[in-house]
Amino acid sequence: MSTFKGIDLFGSGPHRFRQGVQGEDVVPNYILGISVSGSTPVGTLELDVVVAGRLVAASEAALWALRDAWTAQLAHPPVPGALIDSHGHEWEDMSLIAYEEAPPTDRGRARSIAYQATFRRFNSV
């Protein structure tokens, strides 16, 4: 079962995990005020993990409960926690930084809506 901080936000429907770009954070020199062409490595990129999925419920109210559970996790400052995928892989110290829905709400046999959630491991946290 996939979880974030021990909470099952994903389980109502299918969802897939992917990692963002990893590597060096390279900044163009002109942004750093260096008057030499080129760029400067300033450190490692922060790790992003993106989960794309679908919330599925039997009723409109039940779907809102699932959506509200997601938005309840959005906080400032973000509170990091463990993100675990359905195969048990764990990313420590991940913060939920964005939750975006892809309308419309689909009303067929079930009520459902697609979403994408972005988690980040901040270097400074």
Partner: protein, 135 residues
């Protein structure tokens, strides 16, 4: 749904005679499919947008300058039964909109008018087709 030789077909205030067949086709205009991280097969499928198309064919016995037109709307209703007898007779009805009217003429079949309609739900959730006992 295929109805051969339905008896007494009405649309809005008109009665359509000599109807030879009616078909009701249901299809999805948008399918939602989603996969999980566990394998190649979708774990969620749904049909959140559907349409019900009706095709009605009728013999035209004489010239007609006042046939149905695209955009016309009303209740399409007809009666049908398994054996064309009165037993187990059902009334099928729906609010429908005419989306096409065509004609074919041949020596063998004579003049045949084909009317295409789309069924409309009362609120988006209710099935547009109502089937009730005619007894």
């Amino acid at each position: 749904m295929l109805i051969l030789n339905p008896r007494h077909v009405t649309f809005a205030a008109a009665t359509w005679p000599d109807v030879t067949l009616i078909t009701l086709s249901r299809r999805t205009t948008r399918v939602v499919l989603d996969w999980s991280d566990n394998g190649p097969h979708p774990t969620f499928a749904d049909c959140p947008e559907q349409r019900t198309d009706i095709k009605l064919m009728m013999e035209v016995q004489r010239g007609d300058l006042d046939g149905p037109r695209p955009g016309d709307t009303g209740t399409l209703a007809f009666f049908t039964s398994p054996t064309t007898a009165d037993g187990a007779r059902r009334r099928v009805s729906m609010t429908a909109v005419v989306v096409g009217v065509g004609h074919e003429v041949s020596l063998k079949a004579g003049a045949v008018r084909t009317i295409d309609l789309v069924a409309v739900s009362s609120d988006g959730a209710a099935d547009p087709v109502t089937i009730s006992s005619a007894d």
